[in-house]
């Protein structure tokens, strides 16, 4: 149970890192993050039913697809918004989330769907603990992507540009960074991470259009726990949240485990507004 909690943490990590990246660079709380993940899940589902493409292979399709969708959402909608007040972007992205969720409900109905692969119910035993195979593979993908992103942000020129904007936007602009373009790419990367997570975990969860909202909330909790805009913090917070939830489900009640998550969220916001891990680098 606990180990499965940690494995689920991989999903929370990918979601949280994407969202925290978007927040760090653009100061936008992306309320449609979970819905991007939902799109990727459906994409993986239809690829699987149409061509029997393994959900883990469809990561290769879903990630660039969601990158494109993310760039489209940023360029087409978010960039055009006037900031009448601070919460504008939050309200706008919430609207996007509503539209996506309801479009999917109209198109594919609110039915629950799932991908059943050959190895869906397989387990492996590792050091005396049995792990579900798709869960473990998803976790491995999550770790891989997180590491890749970390190196990308740290070493590549684009990564440096992203960090520069997060640190000081006017200065980055003065240094000749095309801020609008880099912001669009950052939003795309955030969406792509959600896409990879969606495809990877599509064989683990049931999917239905409203699932996006649930994951958005989890992503909120992760980025607040990890410190807003803190990528490394989001990674550890994702795992921490998953563990806390599975502990909550064991020791309190499964009905109230989400309430525990919310309570932690509010408490951290009030007492540790910079997140559990203080101020780290992006």
């Amino acid at each position: 149970m606990l180990v499965n909690g940690i494995l689920l943490g991989g999903l929370y990590c990918l979601l949280g890192i994407g969202m925290t990246l978007i927040f760090g660079v653009m100061r936008i709380i992306n309320a449609c993050h979970g819905d991007l993940l939902m799109i990727a899940m459906y994409l993986a589902f239809f690829l699987f039913t149409a061509t029997r493409l393994d959900p883990f292979v469809s990561i290769l399709v879903a990630t660039p697809a969601l990158f494109a969708i993310g760039c489209g959402i940023y360029g087409g909608l978010i960039r055009r918004m006037r900031r009448e007040f601070e919460e504008s972007s939050l309200i706008l992205t919430w609207g996007i989330a509503l539209v996506l969720e309801n479009l999917f409900t109209l198109a594919f109905s609110a039915d629950y769907r799932s991908i059943v692969t050959r190895y869906s119910t397989n387990t492996v035993t590792l050091a005396g603990i049995s792990l579900s195979v798709p869960m473990a593979m998803s976790f491995a993908v999550a770790i891989l992507l997180t590491t890749a992103l970390y190196w990308f942000l740290l070493r590549s020129n684009l990564g440096r540009a992203i960090r520069a904007i997060a640190e000081n936007r006017p200065a980055a602009q003065l240094m000749g960074i095309n801020v609008e373009r880099v912001q669009m790419i950052s939003y795309g990367i955030g969406a792509a991470l959600a896409g990879a997570a969606g495809a990877a975990f599509s064989s683990v969860f049931y999917m239905f259009p409203a699932i996006g909202g649930l994951f958005t909330v989890k992503a909120f909790e992760v980025i607040v726990l990890g410190g807003l805009g803190n990528v490394v913090g989001a990674f550890f917070a994702g795992i921490l949240l998953a563990v806390a939830e599975s502990l909550g489900a064991i020791f309190i009640s499964s009905g109230l485990k989400d309430a525990v998550g919310f309570l932690i969220f509010v408490l951290v916001l009030i007492f540790r507004p910079a997140g559990l891990f203080g101020r780290g680098r992006l």
Partner: protein
Amino acid sequence: MPQERNNAAEPERGASAQALFGAVTRMREFAALGGLLAPWLVLALLILAAATLPFWSAAQYRDYILDLAILVLLSALGGMSFNLLGGYAGQISFGQAAFFGISAYAFALLFQQLALNPLAAMFLAGVVSAVVCVPVGLILFRLRGAYFALSMLAFAEITRLVAQEWTSLTNGAAGLLFSSAFSDKATSYWVLLIIVIGSVAVTSLLVQSKPGAYFLAIREDQDAAEALGIDSTRYKLMAFTVSAFMMGLAGAFYASYFAYLEPNVVFSSVNFSLNVIIVTLIGGMGRLLGPVIGAAILVLTTELFVHAFGQGNVLMSGLLLILFMLFMPEGLLGKLQKEIDRRRSLRRPV
């Protein structure tokens, strides 16, 4: 005018011209007075029209029209609750559904278990929300902007989950069914209409008073307001209490009207927390009648959309939200005000 010219005799031209001039002056004065009184006149006529709606609406559609009107008024009331806190005091809350739900259940218990008069139960249910919001505000007003908004969302979700689990009080997810409070649809409508008019009046008085000025100061710049000696938490709390009370009245009315409560419906963030934001945004944040206009537009467009496509009312809300955020974030009344200001500044020589 033509009347006067006909009456004037041909030879006395000068006298008739004078009379004409006098008449025109008097008419001008009357028009100026009319301009001053016109908003009040329009308001009075609107209220009269709204109050007599059950009499003049076509008999075979009467129930349908009243249902729609009640929906408009209910959304408007929720919108006004959000507008006072978010539009005037600048504290955007994503969790107004919490007060809606709490009061809805409070009404059900007061009305059914204690057999209170429905109006008294409604008032007390509103008070319950107003009381609940005080500790919540004291804690959450330490946060600002988007953080406050999100933690209110978390608060609403916590209340929803608690309502779902606390089955001895709320009957949990199975829902609570009781007898409706007012036998007649028209009576319900009038009760709600009076609540809405009262809320408009209270908001109007409040925002024109001294605390109202403090609300605006806090909205524009909280640090500056505090530097001027405004106790921001106190005044935010004041706006929050009135706002929670209004939302509570909306929730209690909902309970009295539909007579069936379920945690996932009355605490629904999409149904209520978001709905009140959309309504306010359409009309204009921080505009007195913004939520009323927004509610009318939202309910009617949603109704048309559902008629045309059979479903997807939330889709319509989402689309409206995106369109207004992108193209008219100041709302219809805000846009109107800007346009009036622009015309005025063009006409007046600088």
